[in-house]
């Protein structure tokens, strides 16, 4: 069983045998003198839920933001469906349409209603007609359980509701991959559940998801593959049972025990 | 256009005296308006309620009327009312102080009220008196927060002294006009004037910015 930044138990992975949707090879990202990601390698298969866990500052969010080009990598490669990500803004912009991102502090557009937030992507980027966009938006909002909130402004919604609108907004673009950057870290405990439930449903429906999270229960029960990062490097990766049940790397054990994780 | 800067050079002493007066008027105006404005601002915050009415009226009126109008009225009309003729420099000082003190009063009031009530409660809980609290806890923090606004007051004051040229105060703007009129080279005179004012004003705002950045943490609560 390899504890290095390799493929781990590849043969047991969901979607094994199919080419990976996302492939990261020795990805490096620096901010000035600071190396945020120092050679990360991993794969995301179709329909998999890959959870990135690790201490703060381990580079998990940075790696996620490199995936949809919000940050440009300094070394290594990232490939979507076998094609390397472009290095120019316009090329990257087209790739971004195939990925959806959900942010830690929702980043809903405050001057638009829930419906407006969900329709703006399809209308502006996909050039859909308003009627079609609204139809799709209503379906997405219904999917996240907010069919009755279409006319509400973000300020009138709770944190959990706002994050669900954010998920609907990303889904409206019909992405191939959904990227979640600590989606529940800014939520009150009572509302975390409603967001995780939506994410669980998405996973069940077969959406390919990369989730940076501190919710270990989610990673354990909904995740198909767990990647542990620390100080910019992937120190261990494997199926949830192995990572949470019998982690092989000392730092993984330290991290999990600090979280009070007792399996 | 062919430019001839010799009139500037010939009259440099004349212009320099004007510049000295600009700086003197600016300095005195700032001192007076900080004093008057500070007093008014604090009176608005901590004074009796009945006092607020005339003070608010004064401050709002000064916000509504142009500087030029106040200057002209103070120099030409006030003597007719009070029977005393003010020399141009002192008329300008009175007028500018009246105007700028109003802005200072608003800044002080906004700065003081921006200090959260929790700070004063904490001070009282330690047993401090009202006066001690204001002096040692509220004002120091408020002063830091007001720094950027004071910087712009400084800048506005110097710029407004140029308007005093209109009531014959022989400061730099006025002197520039005189030289321009006599030499028929207004372009050269006024471009030099622009350079002079810029060289004075630009560092003023920069220095205030730098000082504020250094001290800002002292006002954050």
């Amino acid at each position: 069983m390899s504890a290095a930044a390799g493929e781990g138990n590849a043969v047991h992975r969901k979607g094994a045998g199919t080419p990976p949707v996302l492939l990261y090879r020795n990805v490096v990202k620096r901010f000035g003198a600071l190396t945020a990601v120092s050679s990360a390698s991993m794969e995301v298969r179709k329909g998999e839920v890959v959870c990135l866990i690790g201490p703060s500052g381990s580079g998990k969010s940075t790696l996620l933001r490199c995936t949809n080009g919000l940050e440009l990598i300094d070394g290594g490669e990232i490939a979507l469906d076998g094609e390397l990500l472009p290095r120019d803004w316009e090329g990257m912009r087209r790739v971004r349409q195939r990925m959806g991102m959900v942010f830690q502090n929702f980043e809903l557009f405050p001057h638009k209603t829930a419906l407006g937030n969900v329709t703006i992507g399809p209308m502006t980027v996909l050039r859909m007609r308003r009627a079609d966009a609204e139809q799709r938006a209503k379906a997405m909002l219904d999917k996240v359980g907010l069919a009755d909130k279409t006319a509400s402004y973000p300020a009138q919604l709770s944190g959990g509701q706002q994050q669900r609108v954010a998920i609907a907004r990303a889904l409206a673009m019909e992405p191939e991959v959904m990227l979640f950057d600590e989606p529940t870290s800014a939520l009150d405990p009572e509302t975390i559940g409603e967001v995780l439930n939506v994410m669980k449903r998405l996973a069940k429906e077969g959406m390919t998801m990369v989730v940076v999270t501190h919710e270990m229960t989610f990673a354990r029960h909904v995740g198909n593959w767990v990647v542990v990062m620390d100080r910019g490097a992937v120190i261990e990766q494997g199926p949830p049972e192995q990572i949470f049940g019998s982690p092989t790397v000392e730092r993984t054990r330290d991290f999990l025990s600090h979280l009070g994780w007792s399996g | 256009m062919d430019l001839d800067y010799s009139p500037v050079l010939d009259s440099w002493q004349f212009l320099l005296n004007g510049l000295e007066l600009t700086l003197a008027l600016s300095f005195l105006t700032i001192v007076c308006s900080l004093t008057l404005g500070g007093a008014i601002g604090l009176a608005r915050c901590y004074g009796p309620r009945w006092l607020a009415v005339p003070l608010v009226f004064y401050v709002d009126s000064m916000r509504s009327v142009p500087v030029l109008v106040v200057l002209v009225w103070t120099y030409f009309a006030l003597p007719l009312v009070i029977g005393v003729t003010l020399p141009p420099f002192w008329a300008a000082l009175v007028a500018l102080t009246a105007q700028i003190a109003a802005y200072v009063a608003e800044i002080v009031r906004a700065g003081v009220t921006s200090i959260r009530a929790g700070q004063t409660r904490a001070a009282f809980a330690l047993g401090m008196s009202r006066a001690q609290t204001i002096r040692t806890i509220v004002l120091p923090q408020a002063l830091v927060r007001m720094l950027p606004a004071f910087g712009s007051i400084l800048s506005i004051t110097i710029k407004d002294t140029a308007i005093a040229a209109v009531i014959a105060v022989p400061e730099y703007m006025n002197r520039s006009q005189t030289v321009a009129g006599q030499s028929f080279h207004p372009i050269e005179i006024f471009t030099v004037a622009m350079a002079v004012y810029f060289v004075i004003l630009f560092p003023v705002t920069r220095v205030v910015d730098i000082v504020y950045v250094r001290l800002a943490h002292l006002g954050r609560s």
């Binding site: 316009e90 912009r93 | 109008v69 002209v72 030409f76 710029k159 471009t191 004012y197 705002t205």
Partner: protein
């Protein structure tokens, strides 16, 4: 000392004309200076060195010059520089517009910069272009932020129109002082001038206060 206040009523028409010109000057200037300010702000934030520096220099220059000096300089320089004979009103509007555009440039820059970067990122994550993100997400929010400051700038502009009286533009201040010179009614005319400005300016100042309260940033 005898005062004859009827001189004010007798010249009411002229004063009304002057007031109209004051308002016209302010409206025209703001109509130029708002787009001007937006352009300057976008230049400053564009990331293109040349545009950014040009904008920064323009803004710093006009924020550090007395407006009355700019008015005089425009009056003397513009006709010579452009070769046309320009009316005093034109040079006055140019001077006022340059000045207020610079202030608006800084206002809009601060307003746009105050919109969290996460908002742009969320827009990019949906696949929007930089311009789409600016147009749909950043600018609408920035406009709301800058409204109180723009209102204050308007009030200052309204008062600053009085300065163009020095180049013989017939707005309210010039008209009042001309009548004073003609009739020798110093106290009456100057007080009337102050009173008219006060009557126009006081409600505007109160409106600005209301806008500040209503549009306080709620984030």
């Amino acid at each position: 000392m005898n005062f004859d206040w009827s001189v004010v009523w007798r010249n009411a028409d002229a004063l009304a004309e002057g007031t109209k010109l004051t308002i016209l000057l302010a409206v025209t200037t703001m109509a130029i200076a708002i787009p001007g300010g937006i352009v300057l702000a976008l230049m400053r934030l564009s990331g293109v060195r040349v545009l950014s520096s040009l904008s920064a220099c323009f803004v710093e220059l006009f924020r550090n010059l007395p407006l009355i000096l700019v008015i005089y300089t425009a009056y003397y320089v513009l006709p010579v520089a452009t070769g046309f004979s320009l009316s005093p009103i034109t040079t006055a509007i140019v001077a006022l517009s340059l000045n207020v555009s610079a202030y608006n440039g800084e206002t809009f820059r601060a307003g746009i910069a105050s919109i969290r970067q996460g908002q742009s990122e969320a827009a990019y994550a949906l696949g929007m272009t930089r311009w789409q993100a600016t147009r749909e997400i950043v600018l609408p929010q920035a406009v709301r932020r800058v409204l109180p400051v723009l209102a204050s700038t308007w009030v200052s502009l309204f008062k600053d129109t009085s300065l163009v009286s020095v180049v013989s533009v017939g707005e309210l201040a010039y008209t009042s002082m001309r009548i004073r010179a003609q009739t020798y009614r110093v106290l009456e005319m100057l007080t009337a001038m102050a009173a008219i400005y006060w009557l126009l300016g006081y409600p505007q100042a109160k409106l600005v206060d209301w806008i500040n309260r209503r549009y306080a940033v709620n984030e």
